[in-house]
């Protein structure tokens, strides 16, 4: 709780500064960087990774880690694919994918919260298990032929902003309220700070952790639907890159990887920074492998600067 009240996390500020430098530079070198189209196209994958990152923020805040997010996204996508294959109406397809994601998350939450198993072991197991199930259900292929009503998520814009991105912003706002003003948000951070103390204080540790992983599952379900809409198809391996991206986004925002502190804005800054820099490097003709290296340099520089500026220095717990 101390950590939450402290305004000592300067890392998002450093990241914003670095990204602004980068934007000015990219805008100068490439005439396409500031085009509306570039930002529209960029906003969509950002929104998907952003939803998973927000879930990951809660997971990391309570002292856990979720390695299974990519597989949950894939499982939700394949569920949507099967639902569409049986010609279910659009709300039913969406409900099926959300339910699948939530169930997968609840499964993690049950093992981690109630049975007190280590989050890294449980989610490593469910990562492999779920992607195996999803691969088996899809027979290694992809589902196509989704109804237009579902593809709406990809095509629709409001005032030029993709609805996917607006959904992400709405999700982020809800998460911020939950984190700051709900009792549950208070428990999450307290458990991350010191789980034993939280238990002795009579906090509902099991229920809180169950909620954290179930929420992550729900967000993965939403991401699955958005990915299905954007790719007009569903595959088991769809969310593969999202797990590392989400963890990196939370860390880039300055959250301690051991938990006990969280900020939605910092997480949003973290995930946006990754996508803006990746997109800019692509427009600057930077070779793909160098793009990877430079993106990770961003992470290292920001974390180093955060420590230098005193944000992440203090041990908590």
């Amino acid at each position: 709780m101390m950590a939450l009240r402290r305004s000592g996390n300067l890392q998002p500020g450093v990241v914003i500064l670095l990204v602004l430098f980068f934007c000015v530079y990219s805008g100068y070198r490439s005439g396409d960087f500031w085009s509306a189209l570039n930002w529209q196209l960029l906003a969509q994958p950002l929104a998907e990774a952003g939803l998973v990152s927000i879930g990951m923020m809660f997971v990391i805040a309570c002292g856990g880690i979720d390695l299974s997010v990519g597989s949950i996204v894939g499982a939700a996508a394949v569920t949507a694919g099967i639902a569409a294959h049986h010609h279910l109406p659009v709300p039913a397809i969406e409900a099926a994918a959300l339910a699948a994601g939530t169930l997968c998350g609840a499964f993690n939450g049950l093992l981690i919260g109630v049975f007190r198993l280590s989050s890294i072991l449980v989610t490593l197991g469910s990562m492999i298990l779920l992607s195996g199930i999803a691969l088996a259900l899809s027979d290694g292929g992809s589902f196509a032929g989704f109804p237009d009503g579902l593809l709406w998520w990809n095509d629709a814009t409001l005032l030029g902003i993709p609805v996917e991105f607006l959904l992400f912003l709405a999700g982020a706002a809800v998460a911020a309220v939950l984190l700051r003003y709900s009792l549950w948000g208070h428990y999450v951070v307290a458990i991350g700070s010191n789980r034993i103390a939280a238990r002795y204080s009579g906090y509902p540790v099991a229920l809180t952790l169950f909620g954290v992983y179930t929420l992550q599952g729900l967000l993965c379900g939403m991401t699955g639907i958005l990915l299905v809409a954007r790719l007009a198809s569903a595959r088991a391996d769809m969310g593969q890159g999202l797990m590392l991206m989400a963890i990196a986004a939370v860390v880039l925002g300055g959250a301690p990887i051991k938990g006990g502190s969280a900020s939605v804005i910092a997480t949003v800054v973290g995930v946006a920074a990754f996508y803006i820099v990746q997109d800019g490097l692509l427009l600057l003709d930077v070779p793909p492998f160098v793009q990877h290296a430079l993106t990770s340099v961003l992470l290292l520089v920001a974390v180093a600067a955060g420590i230098l500026l005193g944000a992440n220095r203090e041990e908590r717990g």
Binding site: F21, Y25, L283
Partner: protein
Amino acid sequence: MSSHRARALASLAFAALLIAAGCSRLPRNSKTLFVMVPKLVGIPYFNSARDGASEEAGRLGLHFFYTGPTAADASLQVDVIAGLLARHPAVLAVSCDDANALAPVLRRARRYGISVLTWDADAQPDARDWFVSQVEDETLGRHVMDVLAEQLGGRGQYAIITGSLTASNLNAWLFWMKKQQQEKYPEMQLVAVVPGNDDQQQSFVQAQSLLQAYPNLRGFIGNSSAAPPAIARAIEQAGLSGQIAIAGLSTPNLMRHYIESKTVKTITLWDPGKLGRLTAAVGAMMLRHETPRDGMDVSGVGRIRVLPETRKIVMGSPLDFTLENIGQYWF
């Protein structure tokens, strides 16, 4: 702490200055920009396609740009292509990791007036203008099975190591290989199809475990350029060289050692450099609003087949590399 902060900010500003000093604006060349996207960057097969395309594009006055995802993953590839759309290339040529998943972003590209080609691996037909194909899936799949069956005398257990289980073109070849075996070689028995994920190390581990799991295994098919060399290495390490037959798709450079050591008799592919060349040539036709014609002679490629109803351009028949001819090829 404030001196720390000042020092950090100063070094950041200095770094930014250094970067800015070393660069100039990129020219906007979108009217002649030809963008080529492989399934993944950094493997020899796509590198030689890039080299062929780059040379031909340069000769035809196109601005050539090559980029792609660093792993074979359809959603990563879609993200890369979405990022490229902001540059409004004139022609976009993509080797699709998944025919369905790539379709929306390619359709979007067409809506923006970009000519879309697929090469090497196709998307849904309405998502592209033309598909530049190396060889028909059926011809290739049946041919590879014939190569294996000839070495096995048409009988015995065999296993297949493919790339990823979701790559549409690999699965199409796989389908025809199995069909050819069922139709022509009923005494052969397929024991396993496993993914090596276009990765030599993974394919090697898969080959090793297959050798352990099936002691009566007499043949392997490597259905992705990384698989046959990995299989050959596993067989040589197990001391089974000459006892287990290998057929499949790979490049001469990757297989040279194993063909020279006689662990592998024949390996099949086509020339990806030629495929790149043809893709660039078709790209140039798109810029000039020309339509490819059946039987037309493309420089450095030869006569091509054009199937206007499916909008497919076929480069030719498969190419077998053996000890006799491998010296002539370098890719």
